[in-house]
Symmetry: C2
Subunit: 594 residues, 2 copies
């Protein structure tokens, strides 16, 4: 039976000592988030994840969701009660607008909580997770009436939300979608079509489900320019705000899939369902991307979360499982064998995962803070800077943290040996669950293309230039400090590789975009490595600055940072080599030869 401890102390350390959370008291919501409040929230959230959600994780995998003949869906035993308590705790609207029932607290706290919830029970976390995406889209694009109708119900958790993009012929290429919206006389639309892979599409957790659906209004242009976003509630809100008449939308099937069995991944059929335009006509993709960007950050956090829970369980197993002897002298001569944590091969595996997790958490929280500044700061230049960093790092966090999160879950499984392949151990579920994070909300290849094709050139390269300065300034400031040299030296080398790759793209990809596309995924990882290396540098500098006030854990954690700089950072050179290999060879291969 796997276990989970929420890394509350680490989050508090990062927010307080590394990221300067409490310097942002000028932002709305931050004044209320005093150190005591933040700690209380995180401890309570961590406890909920540990005590209420983690015990349901395996049940969710084994039971899965059941669709009945009437199209209704039953979630696994215990999910309903846990969901109601989760909602009652105010977690869904934690960062939501207080005008509509949210708590108005910083988004970065919701990001931390999302990690805890996902580590404990990823399939469960996707129900409130999708709702939070719907809240974001409605907050930014909804009319006042729509906000009043939906936001309080969504934030309280009485109603849930979903995103409906994909159709069988339209996945990444959403412009191919065929779902139609035909205007009704009253200003609403009749939505007709079929959507697939709809997470949390139908369930028994809430009294209503608010579907956000992409569709094409009759007569609108083909392609992405003719797509609009609609609110299509399962039950149409009555005048008194309660869930009223049943709408013509139904779950047609639940997909049988590799993992996240506790979440109902649905085929959703819209049969002239009543929907209302959300945001501007034909500008639905823009509205959807609001939701998508927050969702992408959330999925990146899922990658970290799965890596974290897998690592915790692998470390616990490695301390307990006894096989073989330490090289040299037995570590525990009184027993027949030593715990396998004495073996260097086990240690390098666990250290690589922990070295990643600790820096990845810093990175997700730092970008969570950017989101707060971007949406809440009164200072236009601070907003622009934060938006740039958020935009640049969102695809990196989505792509790299899920690629590495999955790999780390696989590495953690390896520590278990044969037991890792057996269902009851629980670690193979982490691997199967984590696998989807590389695919949904834009497969990771798309994240690379978004980074290299859109985020890099935008505004004359302003965001990447600022990132170079951010990292370069850190190196300049600290490279003279001997204690930080194990961090600044490899970071400087990584930054050189990243700048080299950027220059190579400028020279080789602007006229020949296939060179950019062929290296996009490697560039994403290269940038991610430098960002994580920089986080380790900042963590080391913070521990250094704390001096005697640093805890034993904070000091010991720096060894994971050193291992990361020594063993993981050299990957930047490999990524650079792949990028500069260019596209010529792979584009020359005849289609039939593959």
């Amino acid at each position: 039976m796997p276990s989970y401890r929420a890394p509350v102390d680490h989050v508090l350390f990062l927010l307080t000592d590394v990221l300067g959370f409490h310097r942002h008291a000028n932002l709305p919501g931050f004044a209320e988030a005093t150190p005591e409040t933040v700690e209380a929230i995180l401890r309570e959230g961590g406890r909920f994840a540990e005590e209420r959600l983690a015990p349901l994780n395996r049940i969710g995998d084994v039971e899965g969701c059941t669709r009945h003949d009437d199209g209704s869906v039953t979630t696994p035993a215990g999910f309903g009660a846990a969901y109601r308590d989760y909602a009652a705790g105010g977690w869904i609207g934690l960062a939501g607008d207080p005008e509509y029932g949210g708590q108005g607290l910083p988004y970065v706290l919701a990001a931390a909580m999302n990690e805890f919830v996902t580590s404990a029970n990823m399939a469960f976390g996707m129900y409130p997770g999708l709702t939070q995406g719907a809240i974001a889209a409605l907050t930014l694009h909804g009319s006042d009436d729509q906000k009043r109708t939906y936001l309080p119900k969504l934030m309280s958790g009485e109603w849930a939300g979903t995103m409906n993009l994909t159709e069988p012929q339209a996945g990444t290429d959403v412009g191919l979608l065929r779902t139609r919206a035909t205007p009704n006389a009253d200003g609403s639309f009749a939505i007709t079509g079929s959507k697939i892979y709809i997470s949390s599409g139908e369930h028994d957790l809430t009294e209503n489900i608010v579907h956000l659906v992409l569709a094409r209004i009759d007569g609108a242009p083909e392609g992405t320019k003719g797509i609009s976003l609609f609110v299509v509630p399962k039950f149409i809100p009555a005048a008194d705000g309660t869930a009223g008449a049943r709408n013509a939308v139904a779950c047609g099937a639940i997909e049988a899939k590799m993992g996240i069995h506790g979440n109902a991944t649905c085929v959703m059929n819209y049969d002239g369902a009543t929907g209302w335009l959300l945001g501007e006509r034909d500008k639905g993709l823009r509205a959807m991307f609001t939701m998508m960007n927050e969702a992408r950050l959330g999925v990146g956090i899922q990658g970290l979360a799965m890596s974290e829970v897998a690592a915790q369980n692998a470390a616990a197993y490695a301390r307990e499982r006894r096989q073989g002897r330490a090289l040299g002298a037995p570590a525990d001569p009184s027993a027949a064998a030593d715990p396998i944590i004495v073996h260097p091969d086990i240690r390098r595996t666990l250290a690589a995962i922990r070295g990643f997790n600790l820096a990845a958490r810093a990175l997700t929280l730092s970008v969570g803070l950017d989101a707060d500044i971007a949406f809440r700061s009164p200072d236009a230049s601070a907003r622009e800077q934060a938006e740039d960093r958020l935009g640049l790092l969102t695809p990196v966090i989505k792509g790299m943290l899920t690629d590495c999160g999955f790999e780390n879950a696989v590495a953690a499984q390896q520590v278990f040996g044969g037991a890792g392949y057996i269902a009851g151990t629980g670690v193979e579920q982490f691997v199967r669950d984590a696998r989807i994070t590389m695919i949904y909300e834009g497969a990771n290849g798309i994240q690379g293309l978004d980074l290299v094709g859109r985020k890099l050139p935008r505004d004359g390269g302003r965001a990447i230039t600022a990132f170079f300065a951010e990292v370069g300034d850190f190196v300049s400031e600290h490279e003279g400090e001997a204690a930080l040299a194990p961090f600044t030296r490899p970071l400087k080398k990584g930054l050189d590789d990243l700048q080299g790759a950027t220059v190579w793209f400028m020279a080789n990809a602007m006229m020949k975009p296939v060179n950019g596309a062929a290296g996009a995924s490697d560039y994403l990882h290269l940038l991610g490595l430098v960002a994580l290396g920089h986080m380790w540098g900042r963590i080391a500098a913070a521990v250094q600055a704390k001096g005697e006030a640093a805890t034993e854990t904070e000091k010991a954690d720096l060894l994971f940072g050193r291992a990361f700089m020594e063993r993981t950072m050299p990957e930047t050179a490999l990524r650079l080599a792949r990028i500069t290999a260019g596209a010529d060879t792979i584009m020359a291969i005849p289609e039939g030869a593959f």
Copy 2:
């Protein structure tokens, strides 16, 4: 529904044009293996895999194996008939001793066939696979009587075999085993204990199952020095050679596991079962390693096989699935979108897998030939050379081909986008099935330790020195040829890195073995990269030498080789950097901090 085409033409090209198979006509069995015979065998085997085994793969996953209350086990529908036809085709005894009913053909052909069978249906392939392991152990260690009793039945497929090593407390550390063997008056032993993770442990495919079981004879030393190997048949052979009285061995449970559901992974309970010593008393591990080495090679081939079938299906999907447009101009303006194979990110993914597969096949066949020479050559020096290479490369093939095979299955799954996560597509099964190859027959960490701790220093480093010469000679011979420069240049760089790592171990790991253990897995991959790069060099040289006689496929395949040299070989530098990082940091981490 996934599909499979056995790469028969590629195997024929490798055997004939690259590996000089027909130069070994002096070896027993090779004279009969004329070019026509080899082609006929491989085509027939390929067809059997494609037509009979591949269609049962998904059924095996969905149905799994069922244990009944009496301990009997039912395999998935269709497995029984396929097994009988497979056995009747003579495939199990293909390379077996003709004196006992084998066909006496070269082992390398059985290795090729094992790839086909695994690609088509890995869970099925493990039934005859384990039998082949038992055949190897009995052939080398059995008494004449044991050989006469068991080998003809095993080779004909009437009986099956298993390996029984693992116990709950004794996995990698087999010396901890507790299964006891108490001498009976008639020279047999009463075997008592419980074994876990026994592949093909119980089933309904054959009339008898011959278990090879590790146990400790009463009074034998503790640890690995007191372990003996026993033959424990499910039904004790009667005087007339048929399966006689039921022995006291039974399947206690089938493990619920991540994949290979079609294979019964059993808990086997021995309750005073009658067994006979196989080989020398207390020397059971040595005998088991005979079986294990062949099994490790076989598992490496499984890694390749899963990579191959996953790649075939991903390429087919990429040619068919239409999303987005080629950069620049549409590839197919008549349709709403282009096939995704036009996208550089899809191409680099598929090219990386194919570039690996084609060279990995060459490597497995070259080592298969070494096994033939090692066991059949009349020339002692040729035998020694082949044994050295076989010993050196077996852990590399096991460890690297399964690590990369799994990664490649994951990458192939990624090409499918959302569809890759859905059970019916079939590709997620490849991922789940492939995962076990990194674990069983010695988890891959153990392969690295075997390589660095045993194979490298053995005989004063004779095997690795010969490997350096093999690769170095190839580079020297061809580095002047401009057409081969894309292969020889990166290969030379890779060889430099490998030699650098070896020298570093000599200087840093002999006095401080943790430095060797910490870098063992990276060294295994580094050696594997150089071995695969060398194979690409040899393939390129062979195609070059064929000139106009080379087929279009052979010529187009070289592009995969170039992509491998450009994009995969630079990984050698990363591996070297990790090795030279040493063990200091990871060994300094307090156990509680992980």
